[in-house]
Amino acid sequence: MTEQSTDSTLLSIENLHTRFRTREGPVHAVDGVSMTVDEGEIVGLVGESGSGKSVTARSIVGLQDPGEIVRGSIRLDDVAVTDATDRQLRRLRGDTVSMVFQDPTETLNPVFDVGEQIAESIKVHDEPGSQRLLEYLHLPPFGSRSEWRKYRDRAIDLMDQVGIASPADRVDAYPHELSGGQRQRAGVAIALASDPELVIADEPTTALDATTQAQLLERFRQYNAERGTAILLITHDLGVVAEICDRVVVLYAGEVMETGPTERILEDPRHPYTKALLECLPQRVDRESRLPTIEGSVPEPTADRAGCPFAPRCEYATAACRDGEIPSVALPDGRGSVTCVESNGFASDSPPSGTGAPGAGSETTAATESAPGDSDRPSPIVELEGVSKRYSLASGPIERFLGADDTLRAVDRVDLEIRAGETLALVGESGCGKSTLASLITGLETPTSGTVRIDGTPVGGVADRDADTLTDVGVVFQDPRSSLNPRLTVERTIDEPLRSVGWDRPRRKDRVRELLDRVGLSEHQATSYPHELSGGQIQRVAIARAIALDPSLVVLDEPVSALDAAVQARLLNVLADLQADLDLAYLFISHDLTVVEHVADRVAVMYLGDLMEVGPADRVFDRPTHPYTRALLEAIPSLEPDGSMGPSLEDAPPSPTDPPSGCVFRTRCPMAEPKCAATDPEQRRLESGRSKCHFARDH
Amino acid sequence: MAGSRRRLLAGIAGSGFACLAGCATGNTDDETAFTVGLASDPTDTSRYDNWGGMAPYWTRVIEPLVWGTDDMQPKPWLATDWTATDDTTWVFELREGVPFHNGEELTADDVVHTFEENILTERGDFVYGWLHLEPGSVTKRDEYTVAFETTDPFPGFPGTIAHNMIDIQPPAADRQAGEIIGTGPFTLEEIRRGQYVRVERFADYWGGEPNPTELTFRAAEDETTRTDLLESGEVDLIYTPAKSRLSSLRDRDDVRIASQQSTGATSVWLNVHREPTDDVSLRRALNHAVSQTELVETVLEGVGEPARGPISTVVDWVDEDELPTYERDRDAARDLVDRSAYDGTELTCLVDADMDDGKLIGQVLQSAFDEIGVDIDLAVLERASINDRTERGEFHLQVGSTGSNSPGADYLMWENFHTMGIENKDLYEAEGTGLYNLGGEVDDHIETGYQARDPATKRDAYLEAQRTIMDAAVVVPLFYQAYVVAADAAIEGLELHPIDAFAEWSNLTRTADTNE
């Protein structure tokens, strides 16, 4: 069976079943998960969205509601969570286990300052028994000022520990006044306040920039090292796992597929699903070549199924897999266990990652050949010349009168061109102005200064653009939910642009069918409404709409960042195919460098509205010339188990309302020198691309 | 009628719906304190501002020269005696040693002041027609003698000024500031606008110290609220409880019910100067359509007397046996309608929204007239709107009442039926028409009656006029009003007067065994 729970075992889950009642019938979110976490150990719980990893985590602390645990047991610090009283549960939460949730913007209470929220958590830990409402409401005489003051001071220490700069000031700040990174740190502080033995971190870094993520993971590692606190890290990002986890548990459709030490899993995955998952990661595949994918989709959680849930998508699947109990086989000398019939079959021979993966489209695609190589082609589609966009923050007369008329430089004197058929990737931390730049190109925004040229002719905002210019640029937005009109069918959505240029019905019909086919959607989905589609499908529709009128450029604003690895891989392939067939140019905006590395021909690195470095992808990734680029690259969690990240950037970028003098990056730059503060560096031409740093040179 | 016609006349000839009530709030423990709530808000500034926001009626703070007997005859009050020295001159002897609430003694000067300033000057021209006085016509003969020079022979003068609006006040009283100084048995203590007026016993009252130490007059315009107030014990005594509650009140032994016919009479008034109600046969038809008895017994729960004439029979010169009668006779009625000029168009019937049971009566009439093929449209309107309509004569029928708050009831004939009467004057002068004035001999009879000193002559003249009026079916008489008083059974000593506003509180007592 699964690992024996030794006396060092802190958490042990046995055959856990958590179920949700829905109108469509019961959803088996967690369907027989068994796992353990030992003291002081960092375990990664990995799986795609809907694999049940969060529900598992929440079940551990008894927050599964409205779900219900129908079977199995959870023992935490020798307390049976599944049948613990509220009091016991509270005690557990107060001392033993803490939780860090995913989205820092939502996990902090907006109406209390962070100090209060942390202090509260400390107080609970100190006196879990007596919790008097009036006391917690700070109603004198119940809540004694001095006491709370004491807790607040301890809160400040904690904030310091988790790396919130100048905590004494921030302690009074409300969540919305903190940056995303700081919020998540505050969240961590709340979790650590009770000095727990186990911290459950549910996608703690997913919403954060790579740099911030790196810092936070570092914190976790330190904390684990110093206090021996065990950490259960729930994530979809194998990179993160590789960074800090000792052991990995791979979930699929509510069941454990495989567990084992991190290295073993990464280097020698035994379960077909694990393999596939690893293989469809962009960083595993050399650029230009097509991404392997997992065909099919995650089984309906409502359907009750027999056998291995992955069987339908698994190419090794046999009859045995499809029904009957699947054994979970323990591998020798603590190398974990695999729940697979086949596992013994290919125990040792781990196929070379990359090609020949299960379910991978084995043909190295047309994309490779016809994909635009080094982009030394002429005829730029879009040219930006000294384009700036400033937003005035002083919206009212009074402020102007008070002279507090500060402007936010979203984009600052950017020169950039996008050439036909190339993929230009625009990368940078959130708030660096990527999206604004895109809007300037599409015309949703008009530049404060500078000119945007499309096909050589200067253009203004949407309103003043002629039909041709408009049709020449397509857009795909980030959020699958809001990018389609919930009240229009797929058909109508795609049909709309065609109608607007006055195509007649039959012609439109054909076109729609063709487009659906191109983006790999089936005919019958034409009549479905967005809410009936998966995130991936919605993005396909969005793409279809974007290319409906044969644009020469498509602006892709974080098109895949909301998607799971497997889905993402397939979408990236679709994009590649389209580019190949239609000779499209992409402006590919993303914060995920691993994806960028895979798709981009050229990369533009943006920081505080300014381009730090522009150059061919391979050159930029192999030999970054700008310290910021370097920092970004170092922040990427490598999949090499031991490979730890280099020194990453501290804290968040300065506010774009008052950027530093001279080089905007100098405040965070490891190699900053006085002159960086004095003079703003020129864009230097390098033999390939350019860089905006005093020290940039070709190596 | 006049009631619905003039704000002031609303007082003079107020259609007699008003009530008393005692208020539990505050002083139930005080056995000699009573609370009186009135259907007409006793603090309604829009009517009573001339009395500092206090109704002159009911409250008995201020008093007129003359009072009225139970059979509606003038009765000496602040004046002990009066004589007509010639056709147009009345000389009044004042009662001596009558103290005002401020201690001053009542003298001729006060009377002159009251008439000249408060009434003739402030009230303006139309009181002239009512009192037949004009500014400068009131003179002091000596400290206790006042002479009145009427514009024309006016035998009804003493009775006419036996009215709470002709109450005597000294020049010292700053009425606009709410300072009310009178000679009455009670002194004004407090006014809460929209709620109540509170008065207290005046020990030096010339008529002897009254029994109640305190009276509170509460506004309770809504009949149901009024009744509820009594039942909840918040008031000790109310006038005209909700008819729907009479029977249950009668069954209670802790409540006593008394009733008294008033000077008021309710009729359907027909606009004789507008088609088609200018057609006498239609008017007669309408008369034949209605059963007064049925109305009284059903909708009115037996309160009031079926009427045959437009004026209450408590007025001495009214004798309904002398009047032509119209029994309910639908066939006759239908024939009359056929013979009339009525062409089936909808006739407008005005109903005063404030009139208790007005809507019900209106609807009963509507269906009664419908029976004989006359189609009427009820317009239940607030007073202001009704005034608009009547001033322009833009209606055919109106359900309304007329009554007198003074023994001098002559003007009931004059104002309603004489061409120069207040109802008809404007339209007559403007268009040569009017509303209820038949003109000719009727006017003559009314004038004769008005000027007759000999009661018999007056009676004959008025009867003649009424006969003609009823013969021409100017009104469809409905009922002579009676008012009901429901009181805590423990209360005694209230004497009901045909003029309800002449209520006498001085003898009110509460027997010890108050079972509330």
Binding site: R23, T442, G443, L444, V462, R465, A467, L470, T471, V473, G474, V475, F477, D479, S482, S483, L484, N485, P486, R487, L488, T493, E496, P497, S500, V501, A542, R545, A546, A548, L549 | E223, T224, A242, S244, R245, S247, S248, E294, T298, V299, A353, K359, L360, G362, Q363, V364, Q366, S367, D377, L378, A379, V380, L381, E382, S385
Partner: protein, 302 residues
């Protein structure tokens, strides 16, 4: 605007189809109360349409001898002060009350939607102007203003409807405008703009349909409030003239008999309550279906 209207209709038709699909129906009946609301409203509509047919008596025929009869098989809800059959009067009243409610609500809806759409989509000074207008209207407590207007125009049902209509459109305008503003920023609208879709088309194709749901909900609930408003005005003495069997009038007249003839006031009272309740429940139900991400209606005031 005509184009706008028929797309609204089209949208409604789509909604209707949507409602028929099992999922939404399930959503509707998930809360038992919704079903109740549907039934109440259905019954009322039937009463309103066939009232005169069903009614055992003429609502105005009097029978003074049998006045104030308690409920009997002959008179299921007793008789009133003039011996008229209360049940029949209620039935006729249904037609009246619902008629008024629908008419008033319709006026409000059209007026408000037009203004809201204009303000939200055109924006700029026009928006400012219209919204101040809305504010002004909302600044007057509905019933108070209605009372004054109707009172000055003189008591009649026509004037009451007029008064109620002019004081009720603002909330629609607000609803439409805010929805338009938020939808305007949604990415699919931006996409449409980038596709060169015309403004008018965006308005009717993307903006309006997204507000139809909330509108329907608001309107449904409004039917209730209008009925209450009418009753309130009748109580004050405006509105229907006798012998019109208007619910509010019947209720306030029956008040005087609350103790001896309880049915007089309570029959119309309960009827009004049930009606409004029905519309509210139905509104909630519709919201569950049409407008899943909702706010509660802000005003009870009309």
């Amino acid at each position: 605007m005509i184009a706008g209207l028929d797309t609204v209709v089209a949208a409604l038709r789509r909604r209707y189809r949507a409602v028929r699909t099992s999922r939404t129906t399930a959503a509707f009946f998930a809360n038992p109360l919704n079903g109740v609301g549907l039934v109440i409203v259905a019954v009322l509509s039937i009463a309103a349409v066939f009232g005169p047919v069903i009614a055992p008596y003429d609502p105005t025929s009097q029978d003074l001898v049998n006045r104030l009869q308690p409920p009997t098989p002959a008179h299921p809800m007793g008789t009133d002060q003039l011996g008229r059959d209360v049940f029949s009067r209620l039935l006729y009243g249904a037609r009246l009350s619902l008629g008024i409610a629908v008419a008033v609500t319709a006026i409000r809806l059209v007026l408000g939607t037009a203004i809201g759409l204009l303000a939200g989509y055109v924006g700029g000074w026009l928006d400012e102007l219209l919204m101040r207008l809305v504010d002004v209207q909302l600044a007057f407590p509905g019933l108070v203003l209605a009372l004054v207007v109707a009172g000055i125009l003189g008591p009649s049902l026509r004037n009451v409807m007029l008064a109620l209509a002019v004081v009720g459109w603002a909330s629609y305008a607000r609803l439409v405008r805010s929805s338009v503003l938020s939808t305007k920023e949604r990415e699919f609208v931006q996409a449409a703009r980038l596709m060169g879709v015309s403004r008018r088309r965006i308005a009717v194709r993307h903006l309006l349909p997204n507000v139809v749901g909330p509108l329907v909900v608001l309107a449904t609930m409004n039917l209730g409030t209008v009925i209450l408003g009418t009753a309130g005005l009748s109580f004050i003495g405006l509105g229907a003239q006798p012998p019109t069997p208007e619910w509010g009038t019947m209720l306030s007249a029956g008040r005087h008999h609350l103790r001896e003839a309880w049915w007089l006031a309570n029959a119309p009272g309960a009827t009004i309550m049930l009606t409004v309740l029905g519309f509210n429940l139905l509104g909630d139900g519709l919201r569950d279906v049409l407008d899943p991400t909702h706010d509660e209606p802000l005003e009870k005031s009309i």
